[in-house]
């Protein structure tokens, strides 16, 4: 039986991603209510799927038809809205990444969900990608042989991919003024946002292999907008690179893991589109390259299927893991921002 979903948020991620994905999973989910924050966009989106619409979150959270609350609002709203959903008696929550923007918020949210016995899933879609499971299994089997992890992103504007999975528009979120990245405080804030908003896709996977952050070696904003962050997690070096580009080739989204025995590369598909799972390549110690096959379903679909499994009771919510993932990302973002500011002061 399909579960009724109420969606908080009406940005491109809802219009171009979650609504089509949920339509494709109509045996599992039905969108019954969409709420905007006053933009008026909810009506047009809700009419597409015959759902109710409202402004603000109170009506949606008070709607008895809503069983699953999908929180797809700006990141700074996530923790508060989870708590509000729990207070309204909701016990099933899909929260877009990040779960929270401070460690205190993350602690409160997980405590509250645990106490209420609420099902909670954070939409870190790469973690649910079919390609990642075998890679993680392989790396865990290698134990302490992992030496370095790098995640390299080169992204054209999202608009390119919104157009492939949606129609009409506007596709882009309202543009704010270009931040003054010469101002260290602004740059540190942007870096924090990029790490908790974009790097978060892969940080839970990195944490699974390289838990703990011992030292941020460097943290830079790279023009026009991107970052270079290097840190040490125990005996593992981690490097994160992002270039957000005004134009250029299709997205590169690659995680590479160097061990003393092999090298593993995971290429994730571009955001928003449904091009199947990531693909993997393993370069063995004997010089052979092995290519993994692409599974038909992507992480976006897989994360909703996972939520259905949690709701069915086939899987248990790993509150401690969710909390550790959230804290890891926030600790990294805090430390990287501090490193950037410290560098600027010198």
């Amino acid at each position: 039986m399909a579960r009724n979903v109420g969606i908080l948020g009406t940005g491109p991620g809802v219009a171009a991603l979650h609504l089509p994905v949920l339509e494709g999973l109509s045996d599992l989910f039905a969108v019954v209510h969409i709420a905007d924050a006053g933009s008026g966009r909810a009506q047009a989106l809700a009419e597409r799927s015959g759902a109710t619409w409202s402004a603000g979150e109170a009506h949606l959270l008070g709607d008895p038809a809503v069983e699953v609350v999908a929180i797809c609002s700006p990141p700074q709203e996530h923790a508060r809205q989870i708590l509000a959903a729990l207070a309204a008696g909701k016990r099933a929550i899909f929260c877009e990444k990040p779960l929270a923007t401070t460690k205190q918020q993350a602690d409160e949210v997980i405590s509250a969900c645990r106490a209420a016995g609420a099902v909670l899933l954070v939409g870190t879609n790469h973690l649910f990608d079919a390609a990642w499971g075998p890679v993680k299994h392989h790396l865990v089997g290698l134990g302490d042989k992992v030496q370095a992890i790098s995640v390299t992103l080169a992204l054209p504007p999202n608009d390119r991919y919104h157009r492939l999975v949606s129609e009409g528009g506007p596709f882009q979120s309202a543009r704010r003024g270009r931040p003054d990245l010469e101002d260290p405080a602004v740059a540190a804030g942007v870096l924090h946002q990029l790490l908790t908003g974009l790097a978060i896709h892969d940080l839970p996977a990195i944490r699974a292999v390289a838990p703990g952050i011992d030292e941020v070696v460097y943290a830079r904003i790279a023009p026009p907008l991107g970052y270079l962050v290097g840190y040490r997690a125990g005996a593992i070096l981690v490097q994160l690179a992002l270039a957000m580009l005004p134009d250029g080739p299709d997205a590169l989204w690659r995680m590479a893991i160097a061990t003393s025995h092999d090298r593993i590369e995971v290429d994730f598909p571009p955001p928003f589109v449904h091009a199947g799972s990531a693909t993997t390549r393993v370069r063995s110690a004997d010089g052979r390259w092995t290519h993994g096959r692409r599974e038909p379903e992507d992480g976006y679909v897989a994360e909703w299927r996972r939520l259905a499994s949690l709701l069915d009771g086939n899987l248990r919510v790993e509150y401690d893991e969710l909390l550790a993932d959230a804290r890891y990302a926030i600790e990294l973002a805090d430390a990287a921002a501090a490193r950037l500011l410290e560098g600027a002061r010198r």
Binding site: Q147, A148, S150, T152, A154, P156, E215, V217, Y218, A219, R220, A222, P223, P224, G226, L228, G230, R232, G234, A235, I236, L237, Q239, A241, A243, L245, P246, D247, G248, P249, D250, L252, A256, A258, T259, S260, H261, D262, R263, R283, S284, A285, D286, G287, R288, W289, R339, E342, G343, R346
Partner: protein, 290 residues
């Protein structure tokens, strides 16, 4: 210059260069003496002294074949590299940094500057320093400007660094490097270079796997570079003969020394972006890195 007809004499015992001479049979001939000839210096041990010796013996040009990293002492002393008189050309064979491949990569970018360059290297512990050096050479070549080390760290034998590259127009382009040790019979030398931007260059060079892939990505197409079937030794010897013929200066040695210096700096006890004065704490950390 030792000439046999129109052929230039080449003094070498290296099989790859004897083969290259045979493949350039109208231009080159094997000779015993370095005097007046192209002297091929194997890049092992203290090759700098052998290089100087070849020059002292009157070589017309020197090929430096697959040089290893030089000992740090050579750079610390005053009589080391940097004092090469540049009166005869020195052409350096670096199979991981072939000039024809570098040229292909630069040409395909059509002058579009990279926004970020990343390099990942893997090799046996013995070869890793050389591979890191050549990875730095790729960054320098793609950016077409010098590099400086901003910050670095190590864990076990793995290395990580942030670098600033200065393009010809003065623009600063950040670059990163990760180097790891890969065990096993097929370790070889692995290099992956990504120049990210409106045009993306991706080079994968895996010596043990016999893989060289250079691709250039734009918004509209992906361009794969053709395979280069000319041997590395023949290419180097041909460039040497061209340098002798044209009299044009060859920057190979200067480039190599620049890359070695930077690699040495990176392989030294690491420094953070901001804490040069805490170097002592990293000196204490160093044993874990080697």
């Amino acid at each position: 210059m030792t000439m046999n007809g129109s052929r230039v004499g080449v003094a070498t015992r290296l099989p790859s260069y004897r083969a290259a001479i045979a493949e350039l049979s109208r231009s080159a001939t094997l000779v015993e003496e370095a005097r007046g000839a192209v002297a091929v210096v194997p890049g092992v041990g203290d090759w700098w002294q052998v290089l100087l010796s070849a020059r002292d013996q009157g070589a017309a040009a020197v090929v430096l074949a697959e040089p290893e990293m030089l000992p740090r002492e050579l750079f610390d002393g005053g009589s080391g590299p940097g004092t090469w008189p540049a009166d005869i050309p020195v052409v350096v064979e670096r199979p991981r940094l072939r000039p024809d491949l570098v040229w292909e990569a630069a040409r395909a970018r059509q002058g579009t500057r990279a926004r970020i360059v990343t390099v990942e290297c893997a090799a046996t512990a013995a070869a890793l320093d050389d591979v890191i050096r050549d990875g730095l050479g790729w960054v320098r070549s793609l950016v077409q400007g010098p590099l400086t080390l901003v910050a670095g760290s190590c864990a076990g034998q793995a290395r990580m660094a942030l670098l600033d590259a200065r393009a010809a127009d003065g623009t600063s382009i950040p670059a990163t490097l990760v180097g790891t040790v890969l065990d096993g019979p097929g370790a070889g030398g692995f290099l992956q270079v990504l120049a990210l931007g409106e045009v993306r260059t991706e080079l994968v060079l895996d010596q043990a796997a016999g893989l060289v892939r250079l691709e250039t990505w734009t918004a509209g197409e992906t361009l794969g570079a053709p395979q280069h079937y000319e041997s590395s030794a023949r290419l180097t010897l041909r460039r040497t003969l061209e340098a002798l013929s044209s009299g044009q200066p060859v920057p190979d040695l200067e480039d190599l020394l620049q890359d070695i210096r930077l690699a040495r700096e990176l392989l030294e006890p690491p420094k953070t972006e901001i804490d040069v004065e805490t170097r002592q704490s990293f000196v204490a950390f160093r044993p874990k890195c080697r």
